[in-house]
Symmetry: C2
Subunit: 197 residues, 2 copies
């Protein structure tokens, strides 16, 4: 009833994470109502991103330059490589400004259910990076889910022959968290990894 242009816009917006069919319709209306402030700038930004954003051939980060700004930054420690599942995780760690090494995005997890095997992950490039020398330590920062941990084990296994130290993120009580609301697994992990004060 709305003309194919509007329907097509709603259909595509509904594919974004966080938007369903109803909120996509609301978003489309908002866009059409604010043509000059929102619709045209967003169209330009998308075209711009489609043309200019590329995947970094070293780490897999998304940026307008290849190698990306993180890999190209000479002040960062290129001997310390943090392995993450997705670009979103890389950005999350970057937001903390607490890590001064470089990254490697493997692009997902192993998952027998979803049919994702080792060939779907960007692990071979990591092994090569480590074999080429210059890498001192690999920090496995995959999600603390079953799939993430399985993938961590797999990556550690693939790096067994490399002369690099392999570490993983600490498990424990989240900062600001209350013990009463924590799951048993986290509490046990925090107790086991207790540290001297």
């Amino acid at each position: 009833m709305n003309g194919p242009e509007i329907e097509q816009l709603v259909k595509l917006l509904a594919k974004l994470p966080g938007l369903g069919p109803r909120s996509a319709r609301r978003a489309a209306l908002q866009l059409l109502k604010k043509k000059d402030q929102l619709l045209r700038p967003l169209a330009d930004a998308l075209t711009n991103a489609a043309e200019n954003v590329v995947s970094c051939h070293v780490c897999g980060n998304l940026d307008t330059a290849d190698p990306c700004a993180v890999c190209a930054d000479g002040r960062r420690d290129s001997g310390l490589v943090c392995v993450v599942e997705e670009v979103a995780d890389l950005w999350a760690i970057e937001r903390t400004a607490g890590f001064k090494g470089v990254y490697h995005v493997v692009g997902g997890t192993l998952s027998a259910l979803d049919g994702r095997g080792p060939q779907d992950l960007n692990v071979a490039a990591l092994v090569e990076r480590c074999a080429a020398g210059g890498v001192r330590e690999v920090v496995l920062a995959l999600n603390a889910t079953v799939e993430g941990q399985t993938t961590s084990h797999y990556i550690a296994d693939r790096l067994k022959e490399s002369p690099v130290q392999i570490t993983r993120l600490a498990h424990g009580v989240p900062v600001g968290g209350e013990l009463d609301y924590l799951d048993d697994g986290t509490l046990v992990a925090a107790l086991k990894a207790r540290r001297a004060v």
Copy 2:
């Protein structure tokens, strides 16, 4: 840290209703990951919509034609005009396929708090439409909120001189609703407007 193209995209996506800064970031990543399936088609759809979608000069609906498909449809009763707040409300009524008249979008409600007065609403065009003849009945279908009802009263007042019948949507128990969960106002309205079985 991500290059201005990505930041600009995230900033614009965060302005859509239903998306905050964090979900806009997720949406941007999803778009960049699926460049050919999602990013480019969405950019094209937005450009397309920006160029082709216009506001109907008769009723205010958004469509690629002016007058819009609803106003141009000869099978519809142009003597029956349904007044709604926004285009979204028009679409909601159209989805029910239960109304065979035409529409008039006033474009909002009166709101002293938000500084929206009568001059910000598209009421003058409605008065003209009614004065020009051909309109038999005006159905006030604004939201059943305080602002919506205030605006309904204002519109009814403006149409006092016109030779049209003014009606409003029925208030009552929503179909499928349970009495126990209804607010008092709705229950009283439903009791007052009770009908013979």
